[in-house]
């Protein structure tokens, strides 16, 4: 039986063009993922669009005024308030700014602690009138008028403290702060040397 020693037909070599197309395809895919990832992550709720976008809407003049009146009534004068709708949410953010013109005087209350509690209660009550605030921020300005320190608490913990469901310590623990502006001024060596 004769054996056919004919060599098999030569494989067709893929040309450089195929490689190039593959490389371009991969690069294009990476670029699409790179550009779309933030949008997709945001849409899926896995990433935040950032404060600028979240608070891009106008603040509500009536809500601003209501919060400012409550502050004045509870011993905090010269503070400005902005109640800003949070994009993508039914809730609002209340930002209370304390600057040069602000003052705190709780002497009308039986004690300063009572004055503090009355302020928290007043903020809780004004929100119960339908403002829909989810979180409050105290924005403390430096002497140059720029944001210096920010302190925040959820409306839930404000309400809980106002209603006596949590004590002062628990309320304080629920507070978060951004101290970037302050820490820029702190010399760590001096701080450690002070110990």
């Amino acid at each position: 039986m004769a054996i056919d020693y004919e060599s098999p037909p030569p494989k067709r070599r893929r040309g450089c063009l195929s490689c190039l197309v593959a490389v371009v395809g991969i690069v294009a895919l990476c670029a699409v993922v790179w550009f779309l990832a933030p949008t997709v992550m945001t849409a899926l709720g896995l990433s935040s669009p950032g404060a600028e976008e979240l608070y891009s809407g106008a603040s509500d003049p009536a809500a601003n005024q209501a919060v400012e009146e409550v502050l004045v009534g509870s011993g905090i004068e010269g503070a400005s308030a902005r109640v800003i709708p949070i994009k993508g949410s039914d809730g609002q953010l209340a930002v209370i700014t304390l600057g040069d013109a602000s003052s705190i005087d709780w002497s009308e209350s039986s004690s300063v602690e009572e004055g503090f509690l009355n302020t928290v209660r007043a903020l809780s009550q004004v929100n119960a009138q339908g403002l829909g605030v989810e979180r409050a921020v105290i924005d403390v300005r430096g002497e140059d008028g720029q944001p210096f320190i920010a302190i925040t608490a959820s409306q839930a913990s404000i309400d809980a403290y106002a209603n006596g469901e949590i004590d002062r310590d628990e309320f304080v623990r629920s507070v978060d702060a951004d101290l970037d502006g302050l820490l820029e001024l702190v010399d760590l060596q001096v701080l450690m040397g002070g110990e």
Binding site: G57, R82, G99, W106, E143
Partner: protein
């Protein structure tokens, strides 16, 4: 040493600590009474201890015994300084690094947004007072999602006898708000917000141009819409 009846912090090496905790309040020039300042200092110390910024040894809460040794957790502060901790959060992730919920970091970042908004608000206010559309457009460029600037622009255009362009601006404000309502936000809150901003803008222009009937009519229509929304009457705005 005789104990005082008030809650009293033990003697500490406070110089650095005071600088850390009180600097913000001192720098703002806020007018704060002595008792209020003492109370706020107490709050700040409690907070710093709860967040592990300060360390306490030798005494239980409320940390007011003379046996208390309170010190500064320099390691934590060094991590901040290195940019690892932008904020003081409630927990740590599996790598031992503090992580705040996203809504907390966004809220803390809002201070910067509010500062920027103050700058564009000032520009828009000037534009509205002076009837300067260029300034209003600059404010709009700075915060394109803020419908109150479109309403200010609409009111100014109406005061200048250009109702068609005013309608364009008011429609733009409407579409900015409607887009958010379509994405699930509260129709009532957003529409009231928009209409109150529009009312303010129209009222200001009608004070500057009391003879302008179009301004007065538009102001009256806006106030009717606010009244209808607030009183839960059948409103074509939020069905």
């Amino acid at each position: 040493m005789q104990a005082t009846p008030e809650k009293r912090r033990p003697a500490l090496k406070w110089t650095a600590l005071l600088a850390l905790l009180l600097l913000p309040l001192l720098l703002t020039g806020c007018d704060i009474g002595e008792a209020e300042m003492d109370f706020l200092l107490d709050l700040a110390i409690d907070w710093a201890i709860s967040k592990n910024l300060l360390t306490v040894e030798g005494c239980p809460p409320p940390y007011d015994s003379d046996d208390c040794q309170i010190g500064i957790n320099a390691g934590m502060i060094a991590r901040w300084k290195a940019g690892q901790n932008k904020w003081i959060g409630a927990g740590m992730d599996t790598f031992g690094v503090d992580r705040a919920p996203q809504d907390v970091t966004d809220a803390l970042d809002s201070a910067k947004t509010v500062y920027d908004q103050e700058q564009s608000d000032a520009l828009a206010r000037e534009g509205a007072t002076e009837g300067d559309l260029e300034k209003l457009d600059q404010a709009i460029d700075m915060r394109p999602g803020d419908w109150s600037y479109q309403d200010k622009k609409g009111a100014v255009l109406l005061s200048q006898g250009n109702p068609e362009a005013a309608d364009d601006a008011f429609n733009h404000a409407d579409s900015l708000v409607q887009e958010r309502i379509d994405n699930g936000e509260s129709c009532l809150n957003l529409q009231l917000n928009k209409l109150r901003n529009r009312e303010d803008a129209l009222y200001q222009q009608s004070q500057l141009h009391p003879e302008n009937e179009q301004l007065r009519n538009q102001l009256a229509r806006t106030q009717d819409q606010i009244w209808a929304l607030q009183n839960n009457h059948e409103s074509s705005i939020c069905k």
